[in-house]
Symmetry: C2
Subunit: 370 residues, 2 copies
């Protein structure tokens, strides 16, 4: 019989000598419980001891909600506004005789919780649980794979729908394009839909977030977008070039070819038994050899799952071995300040047969002249 996620977590904790996990509202809580409360400045934690019964320690405001989750064999302990949550948590651990010499926490736990915990738990060592939950979350099972495939396919369809308007987008704002794309995603059941839409020179700023730029003829449009389908992410980018009367597109076309070759090289390096940094090296080499090395300012890709950015990364120094179950983006880019930027991004999933591309959107249909 397959071990449950909870059993596997506890095994990994014992291997790592971690006594307890304290999981604040985050994708880790979603991963473990399938549920999560809103995140605010009140200490709400799911307490997972390596040995013994899990419990939820939550502010009274969330007590009813959490009791309604019906998590089996998980006690709900509440505290009230005005009480010292950290001291009360410590009391609970003492009362339940749970050891807490080494506590694992998630990367998203805010310092507003961690610092008081460190002060009150004076002899405890707090470590990130990367080698426990982080490790487990890297390897997606079949259900997670199929949810991600569905997310990617629905988001791809949304972009196709928006791009039907073709040159009709000329003269419209980045914000109008982003809104239309988000609406198309939402109509296809995608939640938390979002889009970075960068027109012309704005595309040279990798995380540009403005809305008011105008989509123009003889200029590019970079679109980086996605959302979640039943909790799992799609993340994809395409860069288009809109035709105009006075065609300046030769430089764009040349650079596009380099980015596309880099994407293909990176993806080609995504082979079972290889290492994540090989994907980065392969993509980066293509861009460097074409003379644009200094304009490729970020890593080649990132793991993806419940969070848009997870481990492992396709980055220099990430020596993680590529194995079945890993999901990550490959997204090289070249950013020429004041001119244009190009990024092409697809999400891939590693199966026992090798890499599978989850976004089925043509990579070379960048010229918009219809």
């Amino acid at each position: 019989m397959k071990k449950s996620v909870n059993e596997r977590v506890k095994e990994a904790m014992k291997e790592q000598g971690v006594d307890l996990l304290l999981i604040t509202p985050s994708s880790d809580m979603v991963y473990l419980l399938g549920k999560c409360m809103m995140s605010d400045e009140r200490l709400n934690v799911y307490v997972v001891p390596a040995e013994g019964r899990d419990f939820l320690f939550v502010n009274d405001v969330y007590g009813q909600e959490v009791a309604g989750w019906g998590i089996p064999e998980t006690e709900v302990v509440t505290w009230k506004d005005g009480e010292n949550a950290v001291s009360l948590l410590l009391e609970q651990l003492e009362k339940k005789r749970l050891p807490y010499g080494k506590i694992g926490i998630g990367a998203s736990m805010p310092a507003g919780f961690l610092v008081p915990l460190q002060e009150a738990f004076a002899r405890t060592r707090f470590v990130l649980h990367r080698e426990i939950l982080g490790r487990m979350r890297r390897y997606k099972n079949e259900q997670e794979q199929s949810l991600m495939e569905e997310a990617c396919s629905r988001c791809t369809e949304a972009l196709k729908a928006v791009m039907k308007a073709g040159s009709g987008w000329i003269g419209k704002t980045e914000g109008a394009f982003a809104d239309a794309l988000c609406r198309e995603m939402e109509q296809r059941g995608i939640s938390e839909a979002g889009a970075l839409v960068c027109a012309g020179a704005h595309a040279a700023v990798p995380h540009y977030t403005g809305k008011d730029g105008i989509i123009s003829a003889d200029a590019c449009l970079l679109v980086d977008f996605g959302g979640k389908y039943r909790g799992y992410c799609s993340d994809m980018s395409r860069t288009f070039y809109f035709c105009g009367e006075n065609d300046k597109r030769r430089e764009f076309e040349a650079v596009y070819g380099i980015v596309l070759a880099a994407l293909e090289a990176g993806q080609g390096a995504a082979v079972l038994g290889g290492r994540m940094e090989d994907v980065d090296n392969a993509a980066r080499r293509v861009i460097a050899e074409a003379g644009y090395g200094k304009y490729f300012t970020h890593r080649t890709g990132h793991g993806i799952g419940i969070d848009t950015h997870e481990e492992p990364c396709a980055a220099s120094g990430d020596k993680s071995v590529i194995e079945p179950g890993l999901a990550f983006s490959v997204e090289p880019g070249i950013y020429l300040p004041g001119k244009f930027g190009i990024r092409i991004e697809d999400q891939i999933f590693m199966t026992a047969d090798g890499a599978k591309v989850l976004h089925d959107y043509p990579r070379n249909e960048w010229l918009v002249c219809w």
Copy 2:
């Protein structure tokens, strides 16, 4: 001449013996720089030494954006994906001969940054900067006051617009109401608009976030909503009761009266020279004396400004003295599981003349029969 925010921060740091502040993307960065980059897993920090020049230490992906901010006398130091940002930051401090024995950080800094910083800065003591930036942010200046007044007034108008439909909302979903309210806020220049809309028994769950409940006759509708106007928040709640043929509203009416009296008592206790916990005590006493004490499960209010929740709190144990410049919510509630919930919330601002209510929406127009 008035001291600048930066000068006042450095003075407070010296008083507290804090050598450096490390400000990650957050409302603190907005407060200090008027700008902020997206928050991701890359270490981006605004470094503020008690003595010496500030600098921005950011990933290359954000380099162009940050350089474009044009923050005077602030150097931008960049690092690249794949490099060890924490070691590079430590090198920078050494190179610039900046002491780092005690470092102040914000409550929102993620553990994914803090734990590696604590490991690399082995002799440094990391403390929350509550007594430095937290303290300063409590006291709003005239400009901040007027932005908050504008936020509150625009959000109030949005609710009035939505409520014009009156009983027309019966049969519609919570989500439809929330969408309409957010649209009305956005049309009035409010950004980050959001609304918790809870129909019937859902209102008994203080932070209910569903969308599918149906607004019904002879049942309540709790609406907690707001957004930002030029960076400053409005946060307001009203609870309505929709008329129907078979009127069950007597119990609702009685409880509404208690919550309203608690709101008025809390607000009455918001006097210059009083303490924040007095506001909580005053509101709580009214509800306890009416026999509903155990159904008022949260504090009476919270500070508000750039963040929806800031210090100080109208909560038991918060002994902050009430002074001009403080802004906070007063929002008592009674939640009867399985039946209904009532919360009435207005934002108040303390002036030299005392408390000023920023939301001008009638508190006793809860009956919707038009």
